[in-house]
Amino acid sequence: MTDTEKIYQILKDLTDEDFSDKGDTNLFETGLLDSMATVQLLLEIQTELNVDVPVSEFERSEWATPNKIIAKVQTLK
C-alpha cells in the first residue's frame, strides 16, 4: 500500500467514509473528525507510516482535508 492509500484507509476506519475521490472535504467543518478522532489519526500515522507527529505540530487549518493530511505527512517524513 502507498502512503496515500494508507491515509485513506485510516480515515475510512475513523469516519466510516471513503474519501479517495473527495480529497478536499473539510473534515473538521463537517464534524467528521473531532479532537478524539484527531488524536487517533496522529497515532495511526505514527504506527502505520512511521511518521512522528507531535500534538504541537497539529494546526487544524493545515490538516483540514485528506489532501492536506497527505501533503503534511510527506513534509514530516
Partner: protein, 404 residues
C-alpha cells in the same frame, strides 16, 4: 502617579491610539518600529500596573523574571538534545506554581498582606505553559529572551486575552504586513473597535449595570420561594440577564484587545463566534471564549488522550474521551477559581458534553430514522442556549448568595 485600567474609559482609547500613531505610520511604510514599540509597551504596562497598583507591578516583574529563567533554561536544555520527561514535568509544575499559589491563597485565613497576584496572571500562565510544551515537542526550536518577552507581555491582551500562540504571534511580529494587507487590518481594527463599544458600553452596560441589579434584588427577594429553594421566575430572569451581560461584556473587551492588536499589525485570534447560535455543547465550545477552549483542547484534552492511548492504559475510546472531558473541564473550573460554583460549572459542562457525545453517536447509528429539518435545528439551538445559560447561572456565583 496616575493609573489607567485597560479599555476602561474614553481617555484610555484616546491615549492608546495617539501613542500607537507612530507604530501605524511605520507599518504603513512596511516597517516595524521595534524600539518605539517596546518603549510604548512599557509605558502602557506602567500605566496599568503602576500608581496605586504598584504591588501588582512588582508581582508582574517577579513573575516575568521567574518565567524567563525557566523558559530559557529549558530551551538551553532542549538544545543539548536532552529530553527527560521528569525535567519537563518539573518545569511545567514550576511554571504554574505562581498561579496555583495565587488561586489557593484566598482559602487560607490570615492571608492578607501576602499577594503574588496581578491582573492577567491566569492568562500569562497559558502562554508560559504553551511555550514549554512546544519546546518539548520540538515545534519551537529557537527562542530569544527578547522575543519571549514581547510575546508574554504584549500589552493589548495582557489582562484577559485572547490567548495567542507563540509561533503565530512571532510570524506577525517579525513580518510587517504589505501595505494592502495592513490597510485591511486597519479597516477591521476600526470595525472591531466600534463593535466593541456597542457590545461593552451599550449592551453590556444595559444588561450589567441597568438590568442586573434589578433582577438580583427581585430574585433575592424570593429566597423562600418553591419550598425554600429560591427558584422563581425572577431567578430565571437573572439567568438570562447575567448570560447576556457576560457575553457582551467579555466579547466587547475581546474586540478591543483584537482591535488594538490589528492596529499594531498583530492578528490576535478571535474569542467569540456567535456562541448563542450553537446547535450543541460541542459546537458551543468552538464558538465561546475560543482561544481558551482551543488552548484546553490542544494542550489538555488532546495531550491527555494521546498519552493514554499511546500507553494503552485504557482500551475503550469512548471511556478515554469521557475521562479526558472530565479532566479538561475540571481543570478549567479550577482555573476560574477555587470555589464550589466554578468547579460545579466545570463538571456541568463535562457532563453536558459527554451526554452530547452519546447523542451524536446514537444519531450517527440511526441516521435514517431521525428527522433533520429547520424545526429540529431551531429546537437544538434553543436547548443549547438554555443549557448554556443555566451553566452561567452556576458560574455567576448567584446561587451561592441565594442559598448560603
Amino acid at each position: 502617579m496616575i493609573n489607567l485600567q485597560p479599555y476602561n474609559n474614553p481617555t484610555y482609547f484616546a491615549i492608546i491610539l495617539t501613542g500607537l500613531l507612530p507604530v501605524m505610520i511605520g507599518l504603513y511604510y512596511g516597517k516595524r518600529l521595534r524600539i518605539y514599540e517596546s518603549l510604548i509597551s512599557i509605558v502602557f504596562l506602567v500605566l496599568t500596573f503602576g500608581g496605586d497598583h504598584w504591588q501588582q507591578g512588582m508581582a508582574l516583574i517577579g513573575y516575568t523574571i521567574f518565567q524567563v529563567i525557566l523558559t530559557m533554561s529549558y530551551a538551553h536544555y532542549r538544545h543539548q538534545k536532552k529530553n527527560q520527561t521528569n525535567v519537563f514535568i518539573a518545569l511545567i509544575i514550576l511554571s504554574i506554581l505562581p498561579l496555583v499559589i495565587v488561586k489557593l491563597t484566598p482559602l487560607f485565613p490570615n492571608h492578607h498582606g501576602f499577594n503574588l497576584g496581578f491582573l492577567g496572571i491566569s492568562y500569562l500562565t497559558f502562554k508560559t505553559v504553551q511555550v514549554l510544551m512546544e519546546l518539548r515537542d520540538g515545534t519551537i526550536k529557537e527562542i530569544s529572551a527578547s522575543q519571549y518577552l514581547h510575546f508574554l507581555l504584549f500589552f493589548p491582551t495582557i489582562s484577559s486575552g485572547p490567548i495567542d500562540r507563540y509561533r503565530r504571534f512571532l510570524r506577525d511580529y517579525e513580518n510587517p504586513p504589505a501595505r494592502k494587507d495592513y490597510l485591511q487590518s486597519i479597516n477591521k481594527a476600526v470595525f472591531y473597535l466600534f463593535q466593541g463599544f456597542l457590545y461593552k458600553y451599550i449592551l453590556g452596560y444595559y444588561f450589567g449595570t441597568r438590568l442586573l441589579p434589578v433582577v438580583t434584588h427581585l430574585a433575592l427577594g424570593q429566597r423562600l420561594a418553591f419550598g425554600g429553594t429560591g427558584i422563581s421566575w425572577y431567578l430565571l430572569a437573572y439567568m438570562y440577564v447575567y448570560s447576556l451581560y457576560l457575553f457582551f461584556d467579555f466579547a466587547g473587551y475581546s474586540l478591543f484587545a483584537i482591535s488594538i492588536s490589528y492596529f499594531m499589525g498583530i492578528q490576535t485570534p478571535p474569542n467569540f463566534n456567535k456562541p448563542f447560535i450553537a446547535h450543541n455543547i460541542k459546537d458551543f465550545w468552538n464558538r465561546w471564549h475560543m482561544t481558551l477552549s482551543f488552548w484546553f483542547r490542544d494542550f489538555i484534552f488532546m495531550r491527555f488522550t494521546f498519552w493514554i492511548m499511546k500507553h494503552r492504559w485504557l482500551k475503550n475510546h469512548v471511556r478515554i474521551s469521557q475521562l479526558a472531558y472530565l479532566v479538561n473541564f475540571l481543570i478549567m473550573g479550577f482555573w476560574h477559581g477555587v470555589t464550589w460554583y466554578y468547579i460545579v460549572y466545570g463538571l456541568f459542562h463535562a457532563t453536558a458534553i459527554i451526554i452530547n457525545d452519546y447523542w451524536l453517536r446514537f444519531k450517527k447509528q440511526h441516521q435514517d430514522k431521525i428527522p433533520h429539518n429547520r424545526f429540529t435545528e431551531y429546537l437544538a439551538i434553543f436547548l443549547t442556549f438554555n443549557i448554556v445559560c443555566f451553566s452561567f447561572l452556576i458560574f455567576s456565583g448567584f446561587l451561592d448568595k441565594l442559598w448560603f
